[in-house]
């Protein structure tokens, strides 16, 4: 399949999982389901995952499409250093975060999706990928109209 950058897909999957966790968590907490505290946990975990995954990493080749307004979060995620750069750590982190949500039916889909994202990150880490922040380019000289 050629040079696929697995981390790009893992990032999309993790972001989607975060959103699903938040949704499931809201349903469980608002509906006061049995063991709804897992729902509350899912909301917090989901928000954390969304914030972590929102800034897209730079592709190895070619230009990367930035997400709207991601430069603010890029600064924060960059500060974490190797914790955010290394995809092995991200894979383990996501796997760990997904486990508690698996105890509630409303959030079990989020668990499954996050576990899949974690395995894709593991694959990306095997391929030696890592997260590089997208730095703003130096301003280009404006060209006069011909």
């Amino acid at each position: 399949m050629g040079q696929i950058e697995w981390a790009m897909w893992a990032n999309e999957q993790a972001l989607a999982s975060g959103l699903i966790l938040i949704t499931g968590g809201i349903v469980a907490t608002a509906g006061q389901f049995t063991s709804w505290w897992f729902g509350a946990y899912s909301i917090v975990a989901g928000v954390f995952i969304c914030l972590l995954e929102y800034p897209r990493g730079k592709r190895r080749k070619g230009s990367t499409m930035e997400r709207c307004g991601q430069k603010y979060l890029t600064k924060v995620v960059k500060v974490l250093g190797p914790l955010s750069r290394n995809y092995y750590i991200r894979a383990v982190l996501h796997l760990g975060l997904s486990v508690p949500a698996g105890f509630l039916l409303a959030t079990i889909l989020g668990t499954a999706c996050l576990a899949i994202a974690s395995s894709i990150y593991l694959l990306a880490a095997f391929h030696g990928e890592q997260w590089t922040p997208i730095e703003p380019k130096p301003k280009e000289r404006p060209q006069p109209q011909g």
Binding site: M1, E5, M8, W9, E12, A16, G31, M65, L105, G146
Partner: protein, 500 residues
């Protein structure tokens, strides 16, 4: 969708065909619809299951408790699929067919969605393409999700409802408030329940049959022979292939799907047709943009390698043609064609077609064509510049030098180029393209262009055709609205957009 295109090209004309040809937009719309409805469905079931379970608890009261208690004595049929308070809903999910298939469907759908975002399609088209085939798991699980699986085991039939016989005896509207008297009162005998008839298969059957037909057609087309009559390797990494296939009929602006079994059995890639329908072959121009195109160009001997013999060329399979035809251009007395970047390819076919039509029908309704080409790097499209050059020569030979007026805009240039251009400004032909009409630098001033056209053709209907990025499409639409006159006899601009 491909099935519909093929059928409709031969059968339908007019606005219906264009509606069905917006296949990608429709597909995405349906996908979003499925996502929204699936979310509602899942949330509803979650709340429902929780309600079933809670109604079995000792704290539950009212109608809910009465309904939950049904089925505990031998002659009663039960309504609540969750029989005790201590049932874990997760166990229900994982041990019932509906639950497991529901989970599989959701996961399959989410995987498809996350690998289909625009970014992933750009980064790795193959990942998008192969993951999309998970839809097979999606549809199979969907059919099982509600269907009677009677060959292997009894139907799950979790959702239950009152039997029709019971509905005659036990009137729901009257009896629902009198749940304490169900066993005693004559008007409200205990209601009887059974599992609901599965009906999901009725919805799924239609589209699945249509899709199977489409794949069968594609397989049949795959078996048809495609003869490669000419291979041209352009210096800018563009491969031009001339091919012939039996009963192949096309219109300008359409595209084909090409497969090369020796590179990959599963990949079909779309390419716009660049030949005119009047020619006895069809052609595509393939630019190296990824693994598959790179492998194809290498297999055809592009990139300065030794010439390949015709028997050593790889076999190709072609499916199509699909897509909206640009033939509306001929319905207007004046047509404006705007191409940005790679959007120029359908116009190659169109311009050639216009030339052939001029030759065979001297009395064409179309009398003037304006062509705008906005490009960052003309070297990638010098094959197109060659085409314009040959058209320019042919038109002036026929005395129709004013039929086609084209403007090329280079939006990306540097200091060296600027100096070079300035030095050769007074030459007869353009220094970059070699054409008589000079290249402009920077972006076009659309206000000026449209004003000029409205002035030159004060009472005509002008068709505007565009292929390229969305931002420019919005600008052109605005221009069309702005410069169309309110007077019905005045100039009117009609906007048509091609999306690829």
């Amino acid at each position: 969708m491909a099935f519909f295109h093929w059928e409709n090209y031969f059968c339908c004309r007019g606005p219906w065909r264009r509606q069905l040809d917006k296949n990608l937009k429709f597909h995405k719309l349906v996908a979003y619809g499925i996502a929204i409805n699936a979310t509602i469905h899942i949330v509803a079931h979650l709340c429902n299951l929780e309600r079933y379970r809670w109604s079995q608890s000792t704290e539950a009261e009212g109608l809910l408790a009465a309904l939950a208690k049904l089925g505990k004595t031998p002659n009663e049929s039960y309504l609540n699929p969750i029989r005790t308070f201590h049932t874990n809903t997760i166990t229900v999910l994982l041990t019932t067919i509906a639950g497991v298939t529901g989970l599989i469907i959701s996961l399959a759908f989410i995987l498809i969605m996350t690998s289909s975002t625009e970014f992933i399609r750009q980064v790795s088209y193959e990942l998008f393409w192969y993951t999309h085939h998970v839809f097979i798991i999606f549809f199979v699980s969907l059919a099982i999700h509600g269907v009677l699986f009677c060959f292997v085991l009894m139907a799950s039939r979790i959702v239950r409802g009152q039997t029709p016989e019971s509905q005659l005896l036990h009137n729901v509207t009257f009896c629902k408030d009198r749940y304490a008297q169900w066993q005693t009162a004559a008007q409200c005998p205990t209601p009887q329940f059974s599992g609901k008839e599965p009906s999901a298969w009725k919805w799924v059957l239609g589209p699945v049959v249509l899709y199977t037909c489409e794949r069968i057609i594609r397989f049949w087309r795959f078996r048809q022979e495609v003869v490669i009559t000419k291979v041209v390797s352009h210096p800018s990494g563009v491969l031009e292939l001339h091919m012939k296939k039996r009963n192949f009929k096309m219109a300008p602006g359409q595209y084909v799907l090409i497969q090369c079994p020796s590179i990959s059995w599963l990949e079909w890639h779309p390419f716009t047709l660049t030949s005119a329908p009047q020619e006895n072959f069809f052609s595509v121009h393939i630019r190296v943009a990824g693994d598959w195109t790179e492998a194809l160009c290498k297999a055809f001997g592009a990139g300065g390698q030794a010439r390949k013999e015709s028997w050593s060329l790889p076999r190709l399979a072609v499916d199509g043609p699909f897509g909206t035809a640009l033939t509306d251009v001929f319905h207007y007395p004046v047509s404006v064609c705007v191409a940005a970047g790679i959007g120029v390819t359908p116009f190659a076919s169109l311009l050639k077609s216009i030339w052939y039509r001029c030759e065979s029908h001297p009395q064409l309704k179309l009398s003037k064509v304006y062509f705008y080409w906005i490009c960052r790097d003309p070297r990638a499209f010098e094959w197109f510049a060659d085409l314009l050059l040959s058209l320019e020569t042919l038109m002036s030979e026929r005395g129709k030098a004013h039929f086609l007026s084209y403007h090329i805009f280079l939006t990306n240039w540097d200091e060296n180029q600027a100096v070079h251009i300035a030095l050769h400004w007074d030459a007869n032909t353009d220094v970059i393209t070699g054409l008589k009409q000079k290249t402009f630098y920077g972006r076009p001033d659309w206000n000026h262009e449209f004003r000029q056209m409205a002035y030159t053709h004060p009472s005509s209907n002008i068709g505007v055709f565009f292929c390229g990025p969305k931002a420019l499409s919005k600008t052109l639409q605005r221009m069309c609205r702005l410069y169309s006159s309110a007077d019905p006899r005045g100039v009117h601009f009609y906007y048509h957009k091609e999306s690829f």
